[in-house]
C-alpha cells in the first residue's frame, strides 16, 4: 500500500503538468482561426515553463512533449492529424521542441539550484543556532541537552539520544525525556553518528525517525552537528581543567600563607613559654616568689593559647578535608552556652558577662562540641577586640525557623566594608593594635555553622563594638 501511495505521489506532478498543457490547448482552441502560429507557440511556453518551475525538470519535459504533440495535432494544418504539410511548420515544431526542452531544463535547474541554496541556507542557519546555543554553555550536561534538543528539532526526530563516555559513568541524554519508542534498545536507530574527539571517541548521536530515513544532505548536516558538539565538549573539558588549575593555584597560595602564619603563631607562645621556664631554671637569675609565680602563670596561659591554636588548626584541616563529622542531637542551648562559659572561665574572670536567654527556649538539633567551639571562638574574638574590663553580652532567642544566639562586645567594632569578609580564612581586619591570631577562628565558625545549615553574620553595635549572630535551624 505504501509503495502504491509513494508512487502515485511521485506521479502526481507529471499528471498535473500534462493536465495543465491540455487545459491550455483547449483554452486556445476556439481562437485557432484568428491566431498566428507564433502566438500559439509562445503561449505554450507557459505550461512548459510553469511545469518546470513548479514541479521540476521531469514534469517540464512531459509538458514540453505534450505541447509538442498537441501543437502539432490541434494547431498545425492539417488539423486533427500529426502529419505536417508545410516544411516551415516542421522547422517550427523542431525549434519548438528544442526551445521547450531547453526552457524546462533551465527553469528546472534554476528551481533545483534555488532548492539547494535554500537547503544550504537551512543547514547553515541550523548550524548557526547550534553554535550559538553551544557558545553560552560550559557544562557537559548542558551541552548534551542542547545537542539533543537541536538535533531533534532540526531533523524532526521521534527520539534522539546522545551517548557520552564520560567519567565516572557514561551519560545518556535523551530528547524527549520519556522514551516514546517503547524501548530504544529494541528498535535500531535510523541514523548513528560518532562523536570523534581529538584523541579518542567521545560517544555518539543516535536518531530515530520512523517517517523517513535521512537523505544525503541531512546525513552531512548531522555529521557537522557531531563535529560542532565535539568542539563544544572539548572546550567544556578545557574550562573544567582551567578551573581546577586555578583552584590548585589558589589552594597552594593559601597553603603558603597558612604555613607562614602558623609558623609565626605557634612560635610566639612557645617563645614565651621557653623564656619563662628557662628563666626559672637559670641559676644566675634571682627571682622572688612573686616573680616566680608570675613567670609560671605566664607560661601556663601561653600554653593554653597554644592549645587553642592547635585546636583551630586541626578544625581547619578537618573542615577543608570535609572530614568533620557532625553528630546532631537535641540539646538545650543554655547548656551549650554554660559549657562555653565554663571553658573560658579563666579569660572571663575579670569581665562582666551579661546573659539574656529567653524563657522556654526549645531544644535545637546541634553537634554540642562543635557549636560550643563556635561560641568559644566568637567570645574569644570579642575578648581580643574589646577593652579588658568591658562587658560581653550573650543573647539567645527563637524566631519562626531559627534559634538565634548573639554575642556582643563593647570594643572597637569592624569597618562596615569588612563585615562580610571577617568570615574568610586568614582575614585580619587592618587595625593598629594587632591582637594576634591567624584569622582562622571566624572562618571555622562559618564552616561549622554552614555544616549545620545555619547562618552567621556580623554587624556593628550602635553604641560601639561588634555583634556576631548565629542562626540555627529548628528541626
Amino acid at each position: 500500500m505504501n509503495q502504491v501511495n509513494s508512487l502515485s505521489r511521485k506521479a502526481f506532478p507529471y499528471v498535473l503538468a500534462f493536465l495543465f498543457t491540455i487545459i491550455v490547448t483547449f483554452v486556445l482552441l476556439p481562437f485557432r482561426d484568428g491566431l498566428q502560429i507564433a502566438t500559439v507557440v509562445l503561449v505554450y511556453l507557459l505550461p512548459v515553463g510553469a511545469s518546470a518551475a513548479l514541479w521540476g525538470l521531469g514534469p517540464g519535459i512531459i509538458s514540453a512533449l505534450a505541447s509538442f504533440l498537441l501543437l502539432n495535432y490541434f494547431y498545425l494544418p492539417p488539423y486533427g492529424t500529426l502529419a505536417v504539410h508545410d516544411t516551415q511548420d516542421i522547422l517550427v515544431l523542431l525549434m519548438f521542441l528544442l526551445l521547450t526542452v531547453s526552457v524546462s531544463q533551465l527553469v528546472g535547474s534554476m528551481t533545483r539550484s534555488l532548492a539547494v541554496a535554500r537547503e544550504q541556507e537551512h543547514e547553515i542557519s541550523r548550524l548557526y543556532e547550534l553554535s550559538l546555543a553551544f557558545s553560552k554553555l560550559h557544562r557537559e550536561s548542558d551541552i548534551l541537552n542542547a545537542l539533543a534538543l537541536q538535533t531533534s528539532e532540526t531533523f524532526q526526530a521521534d527520539q534522539t539520544e546522545v551517548f557520552i563516555e564520560s567519567t565516572p559513568q557514561p551519560k545518556l541524554t535523551r530528547f524527549p525525556e520519556a522514551a516514546s519508542l517503547n524501548d530504544t534498545r529494541v528498535v535500531p536507530p535510523t541514523a548513528v553518528v560518532p562523536l570523534q574527539g581529538n584523541q579518542r571517541l567521545l560517544g555518539e548521536i543516535r536518531l530515530w525517525r520512523v517517517a523517513s530515513p535521512l537523505n544525503a544532505s541531512e546525513e552531512r548536516l548531522l555529521q557537522t552537528f557531531a563535529r560542532q558538539s565535539v568542539l563544544a565538549l572539548e572546550r567544556a573539558q578545557l574550562v573544567t581543567s582551567e578551573n581546577r588549575a586555578r583552584l590548585l593555584e589558589e589552594s597552594d597560595r593559601m597553603k603558603s600563607a597558612l604555613l607562614a602564619s602558623v609558623s609565626h603563631e605557634l612560635r610566639t607562645p612557645l617563645a614565651t613559654i621557653t623564656g619563662a621556664l628557662s628563666s626559672l631554671l637559670d641559676e644566675e637569675i634571682i627571682l622572688d616568689d612573686d616573680a616566680r609565680t608570675s613567670l609560671i602563670e605566664t607560661a601556663s596561659e601561653e600554653a593554653d593559647r597554644l592549645n587553642r591554636l592547635v585546636g583551630n588548626l586541626l578544625d581547619m584541616t578537618r573542615l577543608e578535608a570535609g572530614s568533620m563529622h557532625i553528630k546532631l542531637e537535641s540539646h538545650d542551648i543554655q547548656d551549650v552556652i554554660g559549657s562555653t562559659l565554663e571553658e573560658l572561665k579563666l579569660q572571663l574572670r575579670e569581665r562582666p558577662v551579661m546573659l539574656d536567654l529567653a524563657a522556654g527556649l526549645p531544644q535545637v538539633k546541634v553537634d554540642f562540641v562543635l557549636i560550643e567551639r563556635v561560641l568559644v571562638n566568637i567570645i574569644d574574638n570579642a575578648l581580643k577586640y574589646s577593652p579588658p574590663d568591658s562587658a560581653i553580652e550573650i543573647q539567645a532567642g527563637v524566631g519562626e525557623q531559627f534559634m538565634v544566639v548573639k554575642v556582643a562586645d563593647h570594643g572597637i567594632g569592624i569597618p562596615p566594608e569588612d563585615l562580610q569578609q571577617v568570615f574568610e580564612k586568614f582575614f585580619r581586619v587592618k587595625r593598629p593594635s594587632s591582637a594576634g591570631g591567624t584569622g582562622l577562628g571566624l572562618s571555622i565558625c562559618k564552616g561549622i555553622i554552614q555544616a549545620h545549615h545555619g547562618l552567621i553574620a556580623a554587624e556593628n553595635r550602635p553604641g560601639g563594638g561588634t555583634i556576631i549572630s548565629i542562626a540555627l535551624p529548628l528541626t
Binding site: Q334, I337, G338, F368
Partner: protein, 228 residues
C-alpha cells in the same frame, strides 16, 4: 590522709607523660608504670593497683580493649585519657566499663578531682545517706532535697536522676548510662527526654541555671555531679 598506701597504675606510651604524672602524684600515692596494653594488663594483675590511669592511644592494644579485658576480672576504677575530638572513643571506653575520662592536655587539678572521685566508695546510700555539695543538700533516706536552704520539690523522675548522679558523684555518666538507669533500656537513645529533665533539675537546684556549678555538662559525653 594515708594516701601513700594507695596504688596508682599509670599506662601511657609517652615517657614525658609518665614522668609528669609520677612527679605530680608520687608524693601522695604509690606509682606503678606500664608503657603498653600488654604490660598494663600484666601490671594490673601483679601490682594490684587501686586505680588505673589509662591512655587510649596505646601502640599495641586499643585502650578500649584493655578496659574491656580488665573488666572481665577486675572492678578497679579506670580513668581513660584521650585527646580532644575523640568523643566517640571516650563514650566507648565509658560504656566498656571505664569510670571517668581526661582530655589531653589536662591540668593536675582536674586529674586529682577525677582520682578522688574514682577512689570514693560508690555505695553512697549505705554509708552516707546525706549528700552535700555547696548549697545543695540531699537526704536520701527522707527523699528531701534542699537548695540554698529552701526545700525543693522534684518530680519522681527528676529525683531518680539526681539520685543516680549522687551515686556516682564526681564521676562522669554518659547520656546512655543515665537514660538506661533512670528510664530503662528502651530509652537509651532518647537524649531529648534527658535534656529536658536535666534542664528542669538545674532550674530548681542551681542558683544560676545558665552557669551550673552542681550538674556540669561534659560536652559530647554526658553529665557529672560535682562534689566539694
Amino acid at each position: 590522709m594515708a594516701d601513700s598506701n594507695i596504688r596508682v597504675l599509670i599506662v601511657d606510651d609517652e615517657r614525658s607523660i609518665r614522668r609528669f604524672l609520677r612527679t605530680a602524684l608520687g608524693g601522695q600515692f604509690l606509682i606503678f608504670e606500664a608503657a603498653n596494653g600488654t604490660d598494663a594488663l600484666a601490671a594490673a594483675a601483679s601490682d594490684r593497683p587501686d586505680v588505673v590511669i589509662l591512655d587510649l592511644g596505646l601502640p599495641d592494644i586499643d585502650g578500649i580493649e584493655v578496659t574491656r579485658r580488665l573488666r572481665e576480672w577486675s572492678q578497679v576504677p579506670i580513668i581513660v585519657v584521650s585527646v580532644r575530638d575523640q568523643e566517640a572513643d571516650k563514650i566507648a571506653a565509658l560504656d566498656a566499663g571505664a569510670d571517668d575520662y581526661l582530655t589531653k592536655p589536662f591540668g593536675v587539678g582536674e586529674l586529682m578531682a577525677r582520682l578522688r572521685a574514682a577512689l570514693r566508695r560508690s555505695s553512697q546510700t549505705e554509708s552516707e545517706p546525706i549528700f552535700t555539695a555547696g548549697d545543695l543538700t540531699v537526704d536520701l533516706n527522707l527523699r528531701e532535697v534542699r537548695s540554698r536552704g529552701q526545700e525543693v520539690s522534684l518530680t519522681p523522675t527528676e529525683y531518680d536522676l539526681l539520685k543516680t548522679l549522687i551515686k556516682y558523684a564526681g564521676k562522669v555518666l554518659t547520656h546512655r548510662q543515665l537514660l538506661r538507669t533512670v528510664w530503662g533500656e528502651a530509652y537509651e537513645s532518647d537524649t531529648h527526654i534527658l535534656q529536658v529533665n536535666i534542664s528542669n533539675l538545674r532550674q530548681k537546684i542551681e542558683s544560676d541555671p545558665a552557669r551550673p556549678v552542681h550538674i556540669v555538662t561534659e560536652p559530647g559525653v554526658g553529665y557529672r555531679l560535682k562534689i566539694g
